[in-house]
């Protein structure tokens, strides 16, 4: 059975409206927006901030498999499935290591 990725129930989080606006403005003119935070996550005193791509992944972690996430994100961000899969797996592993994900 492939793993289904879910946000850990102990995580509280929110999108940052101003950050999202800044990221979308930057993306529209071709700026590097990798360091612009558009959401913030908190679990047991550990805070993470996610950029636009990370936030879109995080919002989709509601029980989807890696294949399902790859399919959705490749369409949203116009990248090939192979590139999306590699980046996604690395990102999810990082979130998992820090205790922000649940699910088997």
């Amino acid at each position: 059975m492939p793993r289904r990725y879910r946000r850990h129930p102990d995580v509280v989080w929110r999108e940052e409206g101003a950050g999202r606006d800044a990221a979308e403005r930057g993306a529209a003119v071709g700026d590097d927006i990798a360091g612009v935070a558009t959401s913030v996550l908190l679990r047991s005193g550990t805070m993470l901030s996610l950029n636009l791509v990370g936030t879109e992944i995080w919002k989709r972690c509601d029980g989807k498999t890696l294949d399902e996430l790859v399919h959705e994100l490749a369409a949203v961000f116009d990248v090939g499935p192979d590139e999306a899969r590699s980046d996604l797996a690395s990102f999810l592993a990082d979130l998992d290591r820090q205790g922000f994900l649940d699910g088997e």
């Binding site: 509280v12 913030v40 901030s49």
Partner: protein, 329 residues
């Protein structure tokens, strides 16, 4: 992951509902806090305001929050506002009925104070016989009610040699985590510092043991002191102290301070907008933009530690930006 990020408003409010307590502990900061409690309607209104401002979580404390007759009402209100609700308690009043009522009010987590694995040490420190047994019983009641229960322990001389045993006792009582807090030298903690505080080299040794416990314990062991970055890199996006970067403290009268151990009032929730406090306070700006002073200049751990705990620095040197007096570097 993004970097150098400051949230647009605090994520967590540590909110003292009452400074009244069943105990008189020798390290307590709240006994020297100003008196005055907001009434139920005002707290309810302020909870709605802070939720609207983007706060994600409130952690009720004091004093002993269970001494407030309206605690369940306030917890339910906070839950209804979309806030994740937790609280810290000494456990003395937390029987089976209270645990069930907290669960029904939406309280997700409760931290129970435990000063020692030894009942005689804990009871003597708290000043009330039977308080150790009641604290352990409270953990069990919470677990039975479906509330995540953890142990909060302020490391000081009475327990520094017993951290391993304390984790075992906490685990056996049902706790899912043990939060080791650093001794802050505030309130009664400052008055009794000579009796309770450790020297920097002792802090180095005790933190080494506390961090090692994470790998061999059946419960999560959390160590919050930023000076532990001298022993290992800190996780997450926040470097140094979280005060003023993730969280703020609300006194029983609505005054807002950077944390419970920094007695600098930034505003009052009854009068001031929380986002305005967060984004315009010069004190918070100085906490977020510390520059290395003294021995911190040239220290290889500065970028992770940022000078350690500003509350301790303020209490013992008068300057928030001074090097943490607990630092052994």
């Amino acid at each position: 992951m993004a970097s150098d990020f400051l949230p647009s408003s605090p994520l967590v409010l540590n909110w003292a509902l009452s400074n009244r307590c069943t105990f008189r502990c020798r390290h307590c900061y709240s006994r020297t806090e100003p008196d005055g409690e907001l009434d139920t309607a005002t707290v309810r209104r302020l909870l709605a305001n802070v939720a609207e401002a983007g706060v994600l979580s409130v952690n009720f404390g004091g004093g002993e929050p269970l001494l407030r007759a309206d605690l369940l009402d306030l917890a339910a209100c906070a839950t209804a506002c979309g806030l994740a609700v937790s609280l810290n308690s000494n456990g003395f009043l937390l029987d089976r009925a209270a645990a069930g009522a907290l669960a029904r009010a939406g309280v997700r987590k409760v931290g129970i104070s435990l000063d020692s694995p030894r009942a005689d040490v804990h009871d003597a420190f708290r000043g009330v016989p039977g308080s150790h047994a009641r604290a352990l019983a409270a953990l069990g009641h919470l677990v039975d009610a479906g509330v995540e229960a953890s142990v909060s322990c302020v490391i000081c001389r009475i327990n520094a040699d017993d951290l391993e045993a304390l984790v075992e006792v906490a685990s056996a009582a049902g706790a899912s985590a043990v939060n080791f807090h650093d001794f802050k030298c505030s309130g009664m903690g400052l008055a009794n510092r000579d009796e309770l505080d450790l020297d920097p080299d002792a802090w180095r040794r005790v933190y080494g043991r506390a961090l090692a416990l994470r790998a061999c314990s059946s419960v999560r062991v959390l160590v919050e002191d930023p000076v532990t970055s001298l022993l290992e890199p800190r996780r997450g996006a926040v470097k140094g102290s979280v005060c003023g970067k993730v969280s703020l403290y609300v006194r029983t009268n609505g005054d807002v301070t950077p944390c419970g151990f920094i007695p600098i009032v930034l505003g009052n929730l009854s009068r001031d907008d929380l986002r305005a406090i967060w984004n315009t306070s010069d004190v918070l700006a100085s906490l977020r933009r510390k520059r290395p002073q003294g021995k911190c200049a040239g220290c290889g751990h500065w970028s992770d530690c940022l000078g350690g705990c500003p509350a301790r620095a303020l209490a013992l040197t008068g300057d928030l930006a001074s090097p943490d007096p607990h630092c052994w570097g």
